[in-house]
């Protein structure tokens, strides 16, 4: 498997802050990688290194075997602008032609517009688009140059359910057609829908890099919260994936909350204020972070 993008021992510091800490990562042909992590974990820094926007403090970054800071290395790279960034006075068709003009083998504007549902909007100035339409245009721009590697940063943030599914379908079609994709997201659902491999970053380090199923098995998908004088005994109960104690109680990631509650009651440990709900992605990350710190 040839590697399209490689980070070897990459660290990036901003003054005293370490955004990435000795990260190793290789992404190969035809992969669809979900990049997860809480805000400030280093996802954006990692993408900006691959885009050639920043250089690492130490270590090496390779894109198609070259330095991503050389324009020629980026001919097969596709990226999304933030949707608020689109130049408001340019028309949709003009933005597509402008970006497409950078690539030797670009997708025709009409074909790209049809794929991403922009056909009716080509004559519209981007300032007149709705948030969802801007989002679609931003994602479409990543594909105009027929890229081999695409970086999608939060591609469906702010979209309604239908818009999100339509965009996922388009992204999956592009992946099937041969594009390698790295996608960051805050939505567990999005990662489940798109990614085959999942890389989790926390505090500048990779804390998990595995198949989607394997990572989901590690994070636990239910979240239980309670107050108890015997935190450690609770955390040691079977089925607990991670435990995060704080001043008012303890939060626990578990796979099967019903089984956990039965265990808890059977153990006779005193507790109060029991809450059970689905884990958010942030909490799932927290579980992995706790483990990596332990």
């Amino acid at each position: 498997m040839t590697s399209l993008a490689t980070l070897a021992g990459v660290s990036r510091r901003y003054g005293d802050v370490t955004a990435l800490d000795a990260v190793d990562l290789a992404v190969g042909e035809a992969e669809l990688v979900g990049l997860l992590g809480p805000n400030g974990a280093g996802k954006t820094t990692l993408l900006s290194l691959l885009q050639g926007l920043r250089r690492p403090t130490s270590g090496t970054v390779r894109l198609f075997g070259g330095d991503p800071r050389d324009a020629a290395s980026r001919v097969h790279l596709g990226c999304t602008p933030q949707e608020t960034a689109l130049p408001a006075t340019l028309r949709v068709g003009e933005v597509i032609d402008f970006v497409g003009g950078h690539f030797p083998d670009r997708m025709p504007t009409a074909e790209l517009a049809a794929e991403f549902g922009l056909t009716e909007l080509l004559r519209r100035q981007t300032g007149a688009l709705s948030g969802g339409q801007r989002r679609r245009l931003s994602v479409a721009l990543a594909f105009v140059g027929r890229p081999r590697l695409v970086l999608l940063d939060e591609p469906t943030t702010g979209l309604d359910v239908d818009g999100r599914r339509a965009l996922w379908d388009a992204i999956r079609r592009q992946h099937t057609a041969g594009a390698t994709i790295i996608v960051t997201s805050h939505y567990l659902e999005e990662i489940e829908a798109l990614a085959e491999r999942v890389v989790v970053i926390a505090e500048g380090r990779i804390v998990a890099d595995d198949s989607l199923a394997a990572v989901l098995a590690r994070v636990g998908d239910r979240w239980v919260r309670l107050a108890t004088p015997e935190t450690e005994r609770v955390a040691a109960l079977p089925g607990v994936v991670a435990a995060a104690p704080d001043e008012t109680g303890v939060s626990l990631a578990v796979h099967d909350s019903d089984a956990f509650v039965r265990e808890l009651v059977a153990s006779g440990i005193p507790f109060s204020g029991l809450q059970v709900r689905g884990a958010t992605l942030e909490e799932a990350f927290l579980a992995l972070t706790e483990r990596s710190a332990a």
Binding site: Y14, Q51, A71, P81, Q82, P87, T89, E94, G101
Partner: protein, 250 residues
């Protein structure tokens, strides 16, 4: 994709964007013309003397190009670096030289357009005079001598955030304008100021254009100085561009 084609592409869309907001274009057209109307036309001793009036037109044209370059580049680039569209453009496969050249071409073109009102006012309301050859040579000299200001503006744009850039551009612009004899002609300068002035690109540009229009010989320190400023500032621009990673927050 050749750097030349990408330069043309970026230039075209920069101009399309600018002309979609026509008030910006009208502003840069009006500013030098208004300055000429208020500062030169009412001074009849200058306006009615063909030599002085022509030099005054040249001085304001140099000033127009200089302020257009310093403002156009310094502020638009520092501003662009703070919006998320610019980092996106940097992920596209366009080399630094294509992006810098397109900025030069698009803002430079607007600067040239801004010269037209000053020329028209000078020809109609004063005794300023130039024959066809002088006019052609003068425009060539103007374009060539504007290069240091283009690169100075770009360097400022890449070196500092917008609020700092606005202040620095204003200081640099007025220092260069007064020190270079663009507002008061250098014949009024005391000896020490005249000596210092010859090191400034604004003074060198003024001499080069005045001599080109009026048919004298351009002094060596003027064209040599302009060449040196151009090379030095171009090198600085390239270094700053490559170093640039967008705005840095601490």
């Amino acid at each position: 994709m050749s750097a030349l084609r990408l330069t043309a592409l970026h230039t075209r869309y920069a101009l399309v964007e600018t002309f979609r907001v026509p008030i910006a274009v009208i502003g840069s057209l009006a500013f030098p013309a208004l300055a000429f109307l208020f500062f030169i036309v009412p001074q009849r001793t200058v306006a009615d003397d063909p030599v002085f009036a022509t030099q005054a037109v040249v001085q304001l044209m140099v000033f127009a190009l200089m302020s257009n370059a310093l403002f156009g580049f310094g502020i638009s680039i520092s501003q662009a670096r703070e919006t998320p569209w610019d980092p996106y453009l940097r992920t596209l496969p366009a080399p630094a030289v294509a992006r810098i050249l397109s900025q030069v071409l698009s803002t430079g073109l607007l600067g040239l357009v801004a010269l037209v009102p000053v020329l028209v006012l000078g020809a109609t309301l004063t005794k300023a005079h130039a024959d066809a050859a002088g006019l052609a040579l003068g425009l060539l000299a103007l374009v060539a001598s504007a290069l240091p200001f283009l690169f100075a503006g770009i360097a400022i744009g890449y070196a500092m955030p917008m609020k700092v850039a606005i202040a620095v551009v204003q200081i640099v612009m007025f220092a260069l304008a007064f020190g270079g004899g663009l507002f008061l002609p250098p014949v009024l300068f005391p000896g020490w100021l005249d000596a210092v002035s010859r090191f400034l690109p604004s003074r060198q540009a003024r001499e080069a254009v005045v001599q080109a229009v009026q048919g004298g010989e351009v002094p060596w320190w003027a064209w040599g100085g302009l060449a040196a400023w151009t090379v030095a500032l171009l090198a600085l621009t390239l270094v700053l561009y490559r170093r640039d990673e967008g705005r840095r927050f601490r």
